[in-house]
């Protein structure tokens, strides 16, 4: 297990390091950056949904909170974006911790409905509070600065995104194989069993919720500064669905699956022209079909097949 982790992980790092050689134009670099930044949020959501089994269809709320949080701090309060990203992360973490308590008392569908409501409310706030957020049209965002140096060039953003992604993956992979990770996956498998073994189920769910929110926030903040723009669409239900579908398709509880799911569902639509109109149908279809026929998701299923072939 540990060898597999090291080998695949190092392979991933190498692949990400070498990828820019293949990305011949700015468009491809842009797509890669988007995939990587989104993947950070998806890896976080995977911890909540895949590990702990708490289905959230409102996670875009946290991505947008991070994006707007950092944007507002940087624009209205003139704070250095690097600081504003961190402050936003802490702020959202506290917010997540506070609302986690009541929300996670709910089980199954009730919880999912609550996350839906959360997403809708955040979306509403972003649209309505025009003075702070620029309303439905969004607002521009200053770039990340280190002293006099502004991170604007696509290639620079590539490295920022790639390194943040690597760190996120590392954290998630470590968690999977740790006592805390097993506690989370255990309470997904059987909450009753986890409880009688001493797992404080409520506390673990809350912690998973907060951690996944922080991942989403970082993803959102970085995206905001990369795009130099934020809009309420970032908190839309559609966006939440995309994130959830990426987790489901890639593989629940699989970190690599989260990355694969994100890559597939971000690039495929780019390849299919005129996709915009069919987006919802497509995502809905993927969700249904994956859950019905490939419930473990792509990466774990493929891993299983490979394992079985090896056993022969």
């Amino acid at each position: 297990m540990k060898t597999l982790f090291s080998r695949s992980f190092i392979a991933t790092i190498v692949a990400l390091a070498l990828l820019p050689l293949v990305l011949v134009n700015d468009f491809l670099i842009d797509v890669s950056i988007r995939v990587m930044l989104t993947a950070i949020a998806v890896i976080g959501l995977n911890i909540l949904m895949g590990f702990a089994g708490q289905v959230s269809i409102g996670h875009a709320a946290f991505v947008a909170a991070g994006a707007y949080g950092s944007a507002i701090l940087a624009t209205h309060l003139n704070i250095n974006p690097i600081i504003s990203i961190l402050v936003a992360a802490v702020g959202v973490a506290i917010f997540a911790w506070v609302i986690a308590k009541p929300i996670l008392k709910l089980k199954g569908h009730s919880l999912t409905m609550a996350t839906l409501g959360l997403g809708i409310i955040v979306n509403m706030i972003l649209i309505n509070e025009v003075n702070w957020t620029g309303g439905p049209d969004g607002m521009p965002v200053p770039p990340v600065r280190i002293g006099d140096f502004a991170v604007i060039r696509p290639l620079h953003w590539y490295w920022v995104a790639a390194s943040t992604l690597i760190v996120s993956m590392w954290l998630s992979l470590n968690l999977f194989d740790s006592p805390a990770g097993r506690a989370l996956r255990g309470l997904n498998g059987s909450e009753m069993a986890a409880r009688v073994m001493g797992v404080d189920v409520g506390s673990f769910k809350t912690r998973a919720f907060v951690v996944s929110a922080v991942f989403a926030t970082i993803s959102g903040s970085l995206t905001a500064h990369y795009l130099a723009f934020v809009s309420p669409v970032m908190a839309s239900f559609t966006h939440s669905v995309e994130l959830a579908t990426m987790v489901v398709l890639g593989g629940m509880a699989s970190t690599y699956g989260a990355l694969v799911g994100t890559a597939l569902l971000t690039t495929l639509p780019q390849l299919l022209g005129g996709f915009e109109d069919f987006e919802m149908m497509f995502f809905g279809f993927i969700l249904m079909v994956t859950m019905m026929f490939l419930p473990m998701g792509l990466v774990p299923s493929i891993a299983r097949i490979i394992e079985r072939r090896r056993a022969r």
Binding site: K105, M113, L116, G117, I120, E279, M280, I286, M291, M292
Partner: protein
């Protein structure tokens, strides 16, 4: 005082719609344990299809009937193609499948019928009637009236017909019902069909007031779910009371505090309710059977 009466009537009208959505939820939930995330979309479907048919010069009554029928068919198809094949799978799986179904339906409507809002003509004109100082749309009375009739019909169905009782049996204990020879799958199919019927009728009746658009099912579904949970997720009476309460609460908040965030109110309400009274108004205390 007339302001208050106005808010109350408006609240009761939307509340009736939420109550019908809530009833649809618990119909399926009681029979199969599944929360059908596509419940709100049934209302959307009938409204949108009816509007489209009217656009194609169908006579009003025919458009309504066809729209409701097509909605019922979609409910049956949903069960047959998405829920039944999933078999005895985890709660997480079922949640995601019905979410997927909901999104798929929304997407399909978006593609076939467009993103625009549509409205249906009121059944009996738009001259407001004055009741207790409030101006009430005749359509509101239709909503309330149809709601009462449906509830009465369903109540009679469960109490008086054999099929209705069979459905209650399946809800109480699926295994036992199977053992006595009740065709569980057909009952589940029926529950989806009835739930879609409920949604379909509610959709055409409410569309003249709320207008309809491809993603209206989302909000309706969520508020209906809040109503169902408030009522105890199992009781028909609870669903109705829950729906009316949510509608009233929303109207009063919109009227007296702020209308911008009125859609957020049900969410806040459900959090508070679940903290204070987790089993809802009429629900039973849950004990996990291990």
């Amino acid at each position: 005082m007339s302001d208050f009466a106005q808010f109350v009537f408006s609240g009761l009208t939307t509340g009736s719609i939420y109550a019908l959505v809530a009833l649809g939820f618990i119909l399926i939930y009681n029979a199969s344990g599944v929360i059908n995330f596509a419940q709100g979309d049934f209302l959307m479907l009938s409204g949108m299809i009816c509007a489209a048919l009217l656009g194609a010069r169908f006579p009003f009554l025919l458009a309504i009937i066809v729209a409701v029928l097509l909605t019922v068919v979609s409910g049956l198809v949903l069960y047959r193609l998405a829920i039944k094949p999933a078999g005895d799978t985890t709660v997480v799986s079922l949640i995601i499948i019905t979410i997927g179904a909901s999104i798929f339906i929304q997407g399909a409507v978006q593609v076939v019928l467009g993103k625009n809002q549509h409205t249906l003509p009121s059944f009996s004109g738009h001259k407001s009637i004055e009741i207790l100082g409030a101006y009430v749309l005749p359509q509101s009375l239709w909503v309330l009236g149809v709601g009462i009739v449906i509830v009465a019909l369903f109540g009679a169905f469960f109490k008086l017909t054999l099929t209705g009782k069979a459905m209650l049996a399946v809800a109480a204990n699926k295994l036992a019902a199977q053992a006595v020879g009740i065709p569980v799958h057909r009952i589940l199919l029926l529950s989806f069909g009835m739930s879609a019927l409920l949604g379909g009728v509610a959709g055409v009746v409410s569309a003249p007031i709320t207008t309809t658009v491809y993603d209206i099912g989302l909000m309706l579904g969520m508020k209906g779910f809040v109503a169902a949970t408030l009522g105890g997720l199992g009781s028909g009476v609870g669903a109705i009371v829950g729906g009316l309460l949510v509608g009233l609460f929303e109207a009063l908040v919109a009227g007296y505090i702020s209308s911008a965030y009125k859609d957020a109110m049900p969410f806040v309400l459900i959090i508070v309710i679940l903290l204070v009274m987790p089993e809802g108004l009429f629900g039973k205390k849950q004990s996990d059977r291990v």
